[in-house]
């Protein structure tokens, strides 16, 4: 009748209630017994009304024990209502009560739990340090994890074949992942390049822009005229170029701008400064 899970948690709930009353009586100072030499009316009223009227002694311990009892009662009640979710009880839900449901096969390792922990950490650090960028990144990360994890969990139940499930997951996921990742990568690259332009002086910025243009043209030509190099090799090349650009962008964002060293050197520097201002405004407009 009563399941093992229920017995365990019902016992815990009972201990919590009894413990709360004993603790409330022993830690209180209600002014002495009223009946039979040991019953303190004020303390009893306080305990029965959970502190609404009267005294419950030390409130901290009393409330924690009461909530421990409530928590255990919640788990115990659920356990007995769902028969501890054991195999026999679950079999009763199926078409044939004697047929045990198959255990779900282990799914592939997932990064989403770890990613959600990172997102939560970044969010909390952002909130504590009042750094808007951090908590926005944390929120975006958590939202991404929520969508991706739900998608993976859904795909894992699509068929009995793990490879097919992965294909189903990719088919649905790729429809929005690739465009979003493309936009995000493009945005990060544009931001990185803008940091380089802001760091450099006029001529240096022109050189940087020229080198970047050459690199982009070279990769595009490679993709166009050497299709046999394969998708992975091309992906690796683009990946390396992207990492280098983003790395340089971060570096130039934290290093002191070049024009800071040339501030008072006459007309030539004045022209360079003007060129930089024009360049900055162009980048910002873009």
């Amino acid at each position: 009748m009563f399941t093992p899970g229920f017995k365990l948690f019902a016992g815990l709930a009972t201990i919590g209630i009894i413990g709360a009353f004993v603790y409330g009586l022993s830690s209180g100072d209600a002014g002495g017994p009223d009946y039979f030499g040991f019953v303190d009316r004020n303390a009893i009223i306080g305990l029965v009304s959970l502190g609404w009227k009267g005294n419950v002694g030390s409130a901290n311990g009393f409330i924690v024990l009461i909530f421990m009892s409530i928590s255990a009662a919640l788990i115990g009640g659920t356990a007995v209502a769902f028969r501890d979710a054991d195999v026999e009880s679950v079999a009763e839900l199926g078409d044939s009560a004697s047929a045990m449901p198959l255990a779900q096969r282990p799914t592939a390792p997932s990064w989403w739990p770890a990613a959600s922990a990172v997102g939560l950490g970044v969010l909390l650090i952002g909130l504590v340090m009042d750094t808007k960028a951090f908590w926005i990144i944390g929120l975006v990360l958590l939202a991404t994890v929520a969508v991706e994890w739900a998608l993976t969990a859904w795909a894992d139940r699509s068929t009995g074949d793990a490879v097919t499930n992965l294909a189903v997951r990719d088919r649905v996921g790729a429809s929005f992942e690739i465009p979003l990742l493309g936009v995000a990568l493009g945005g990060v690259l544009a931001l990185s390049i803008s940091r380089m332009f802001l760091w450099a002086t006029g001529n240096t910025a022109v050189v940087i822009a020229g080198v970047l243009s050459l690199v982009i043209i070279a990769v595009a030509l490679l993709a166009a005229f050497r299709p046999q190099i394969g998708r992975r090799a091309l992906g690796a090349i683009i990946g390396v170029v992207s990492v280098v650009i983003i790395g340089l962008g971060i570096l130039t964002a934290v290093v002191e701008p070049l024009h800071g060293h040339h501030g008072d050197h006459g007309e030539e520097d004045g022209e360079q400064h003007s060129a930089l201002v024009v360049l900055e405004s162009t980048v910002e407009t873009a």
């Binding site: 901290n60 659920t78 209502a81 096969r105 699509s158």
Partner: protein
């Protein structure tokens, strides 16, 4: 899958039709897990409530001693500068009471395999949750308490409790979103009634905890 046949030229479904049928997920384990997860939140709030009441009692005892010794008027637990009004908390209480009915409507719709009403009920539920968060933020502004005010022991505890409850609502909204995703992705919502019921368990606990907050902070002050 569910007996549906697809055209051989339908490449979008070809790979799925050739795959073996999925394992039927075991029911009930989710409910037990959700009960344990909810119990964690209940215990967490129990600790917060205990700390709040304990600090409040200590403060009032101290004030009573000071008044008995020096005379005058005792300082209030919640600073006098704070504007503690019951309107917003009471509206939140009623909103959450109404949400109990819509939550059950969602579970009922899942059970009846009624996808449209399941989604409408979940959307209504999410609206109630968002409305409560909106009210809490309004109330924080109305209270005007400064969290690091050294003269008030009540302020950080009030923010800790109310912000924790907002976090709980946010988690409940995430559970609703998962249930809505299952309803959208599945051809048979009754297969996922355990998801909706689990979200409901968590939601009801959230509502119950709000009433404790309502009484503890705003009624008894």
């Amino acid at each position: 899958m569910s007996g549906t046949t697809f055209s051989p030229t339908d490449l979008a479904h070809a790979v799925v039709t050739e795959a073996p049928a999925p394992f039927v997920p075991r029911k009930r384990t989710l409910q037990i897990g959700t009960a344990a997860f909810t119990a964690i939140w209940v215990m967490y709030f129990g600790g917060l409530f205990g700390a709040y009441v304990s600090a409040r009692n200590s403060f009032k005892d101290l004030q009573a001693d000071i008044v008995a010794r020096d005379g005058g008027t005792a300082a209030s637990w919640i600073p006098d500068s704070a504007q503690v009004e019951l309107t917003a908390p009471t509206i939140m209480a009623w909103t959450l009471l109404m949400s109990i009915i819509t939550m059950q409507w969602a579970v009922y719709s899942f059970k009846r395999n009624d996808r449209r009403h399941s989604l409408i009920a979940l959307a209504t539920q999410a609206m109630f949750g968002a409305a409560v968060i909106n009210q809490v933020v309004f109330q924080w502004n109305q209270l005007g308490l400064v969290i690091d005010d050294p003269g008030s022991g009540a302020t950080p505890l009030i923010y800790a409790i109310t912000a924790s409850h907002v976090a709980m609502i946010a988690v409940a909204l995430c559970l609703l979103a998962f249930a809505a995703f299952r309803a959208l992705a599945s051809s048979n919502t009754s297969d996922h009634v355990d998801v909706a019921a689990s979200a409901a368990t968590f939601w009801y606990a959230m509502v119950g905890l709000y009433f404790v907050i309502w009484i503890l902070i705003f009624i008894t002050k």
